[in-house]
């Protein structure tokens, strides 16, 4: 049989201080970025109009901008790499809730490029309030999943496992947010779905590691707690790597073949899957040790 590791004995727990420092950097970084840099929300959140144009003839960004400026439309113009196309598709984003802006854009483009053979592939118009509701819905969804996960894991494991799992999971969310804010990657409804999916994936991964810890704690009563935890991580290591590989295959394939719509979703999943695995080992497990040691010290004191 092919094996990635034969009986691995890595010292993960010994590196936990470095790992926690690293993670805290991203955690605070993410908060600072959220406050001072914010996110590149798309119109799902901000409201406005988005038009996807395709032209038969070559089109330049400058030309398109000029035509729109002349008509008094301030639009953000970007290109989308089109598959099997010599010409890229053009994405025009217009802030604000003007309803007849679509017609104005069409008239402006037709006036400037009568022979360009323009066609509109897709349009989206979102009222500003809808976006606010979306943010509110997302916040509630996150809070509710945290509550329900806390309850479930507390019942099936123990409270300290529940806290560890939830902290590790939200750690991953902050990681993804960090990158989306830092690189101003477009934050859309599908990215939101991807982040909430990550919550599911990350908790899944953490639970598998926890399950082994729970089992080993029962079996190896004589050993120090930290070592039991470290052994459990090593025992599940090949599974962890294998599963990450299959999920990463799926995510990378989505990035390559999924087209523009799924691109940002793929980026969020890619970051999240990697940190999800990292956090199960370097965040979730150390929280257990910390909690356990403090409880033991407390118990010793009160005796």
């Amino acid at each position: 049989m092919i094996e990635i590791f034969h009986n691995p004995r890595f010292d993960f727990i010994g590196k936990r201080k470095i790992a926690v420092t690293f993670s805290l950097f991203f955690f605070f970084g993410s908060i600072l970025l959220t406050i001072f840099r914010g996110y590149n929300y798309n119109i799902d959140f901000t409201g406005g109009t988005e038009l996807q144009y395709r032209f038969k003839t070559a089109m330049t960004e400058g030309g398109l901008r000029e035509a729109l400026d002349k008509a008094g439309i301030s639009a953000e113009v970007t290109t989308l790499r089109g598959k099997n196309l010599s010409q890229p598709d053009w994405l025009l984003k217009i802030q604000g809730g003007e309803t007849d802006v679509k017609g104005k854009v069409r008239d402006a483009i037709r006036a400037a490029f009568p022979a360009a053979g323009d066609s509109v592939l897709a349009t989206t118009t979102i009222g500003a309030r809808v976006g606010k509701e979306l943010k509110r819905g997302a916040t509630w969804a996150t809070i509710w999943s945290a509550i329900l996960l806390l309850i479930y894991v507390s019942v099936r494991f123990e409270l300290m496992y529940a806290v560890g799992a939830v902290v590790a999971t939200f750690h991953d969310v902050f990681f993804v947010l960090f990158f989306f804010s830092l690189f101003q990657i477009e934050f859309s409804l599908t990215v939101l779905a991807a982040i909430l999916t990550l919550v599911g994936y990350s908790i899944n991964d953490t639970i598998v590691v926890y399950d082994r810890i729970r089992e080993q704690v029962k079996k190896q009563r004589g050993l120090p707690y930290a070592q039991v935890v470290n052994d459990a991580i090593n025992q599940t290591l090949s599974r962890t790597i294998l599963t990450v590989c299959t999920v990463l295959f799926a995510v990378i394939i989505l990035l390559i073949f999924g087209g523009e719509t799924l691109k940002t979703m793929g980026i969020a999943l890619l970051i999240g899957v990697i940190t999800g695995t990292y956090s199960s080992i370097f965040i979730a497990a150390p929280i257990l040790i910390e909690w356990h040691d403090r409880r033991a010290a407390h118990a010793a004191l009160s005796k």
Binding site: L121, T124, L196, V199, V247, L262
Partner: protein
Amino acid sequence: MEQHNNKLRWIIFALLMALAAWKLFPTVRLAMYGEEKVIALPHDKQVALRKDAIKRGLDLQGGMHIVLEVDLVELARGLAHTPDARFKQRMDRVAKQVTDDPTGQVDFWGLFEQAFADVQLSEYYGERREPNADIIDKLKQQSADAVDNSLVILRNRVDGSGLQEPSITKQGTRRIVVDLAGVNDPDAARGMIGKTALLEFKMVEEVARTNQVLESINAIVKGEPLAAVDSAATDSTAVAAKADTSRSEAAATAKTDTTAFDPLAAKTAAKPDSTAMAADTSRKAKTFFELLTVFPGRNSLLVAEQNRDLVQAALDRADVQEVIPPDKQFLMGKLEDQGGQKFAELFLVHREAEMTGKVLETAGVNINQGNQGVNAGAAVVELTLNREGSRRFARITGDNVGRRLAIVLDNKVFMAPNIRSKIPNGRAIIEGLESVDEAKELANLLKHGALPSTVKTVEERTVGPSLGAESLQQGFMSTMVTFVVVTVFMLVYYQLSGFYAIVAMIANMILVIAAMAGFHATLTLPGIAGLVLTMGMAVDANILIMERIREELRRGRTVRAAIDAGYSGAMSAIVDSNLTTLITAAVLYQFGSGPIKGFALTLMIGLVCNLYTAIVLTRLLYDRFTNYDRATRLSI
């Protein structure tokens, strides 16, 4: 694991797969047929096939998604009868509070009440000295009416527009969601949704005159081009019978029509009850009359749903238009159920409207009092007209007792009640409504007439058909490539055991897709992403089991003991990890909207199916193909 138990498990698995195949059959057929062949199918089969196949979301097939919402600020502003400076100033303040609110979940009525707490709202609305609370209740009712009314108007417009499966639904109390799949011309659709509704009252032509016109149309159309137009709908039902005229006030005029109806009546002497109708299915409709249906006991001309387009095409022909008197026009009614089939009534009406919805002052629903036998307790709509309307209405009704007056909305006859007597006082009652709901619908429509201006588009997404097809192709490609890569990976790493895991993954995919068809779920692009991700995660349970089995084998256990221990050891991890993921997917489903819901649903179904295939199915495969007593090595 005991042998007979396994037999039962195999039977259950076979049944599940058979069920899945049955649910997937329409989808596969639809995909194999191609669009042209599907359109060529008989109407009802086409509808059934589309209903049972997996619905593609608008992002995959192209279409339009519109969300409309009542603008409460506008509503409150518009309804105030004497808005003064103070009113305007306070409303502006409320409006600002609404727009500035960061949560998007602002309680408008709370703000409104606060802003006018020290003012008698009766200065602007309702009756004198009416308490503020009552007025606000009434305004809330107006808002609900506006939504309901818009629903009626939109359904009326979209029905018969030729769109496949239009969906118009109410969301919460203030919103309407319109989904139009396969819209090719978003501008036209937008126009259709957004235009102001036109409500008119038009006289229905006498039956005798109508029949003369129909005869001359039939003479033109008879035996020719219709058959060519007709190639699509081959099962047009042609039923005709003598118009029974022993009913209602219209009897006198209708009596003479029986002769005029003869061409129809002669066609089918058989009683056209619903069974006869189904049996009498002529494969090729040739004459115009054959497209029409007349029920005994009613002197109305009906057009079956599948014949509507043909009839309209025949009526639109230039040579046919010439024989229709220039001051008259043919209009169709709403689709209604008649003996299990849907029909629309065909009317010949005066082109010029007698009056429009503008003359109406109020319309309300009431229950018929008194002892009029059948009609007692039935819902009626009471109308009050303004002074000008009353005068005109008195003249119209006085001149046309016994005839029918069509209430026409956007060029479609909403209903055509009989005029019983002259109505002098501007108060009219519309009877013959089937339910209180229908009465409410009509009263609402009459009251507001137009698509209320306070209902505004808050969200609109259109996807062109070419972009939809591209997305579908990209999604399909991603799924296939992921499948191949994961399969190769599992086979190389786990060999025969990897093969079992792949069999389980394929079964999982089949079950997920079948479940989506079964639940009539919509497949969206994020939904496909969910499927791809499910594939990646589906093998996780098997990886857990197989790593366990390997551990046990390393400890020197026999093949059988290792497999047993592998499954039981991995069980708690699999169940706990899948259930926690299921919790987050359920939350996502609860809070998500539209495409996100589709994604969450795919994920949830995938997780549940995965528990079954990864644990039960792979175990069955091990039990079946591993000879536990002799095997010393396991391919893993």
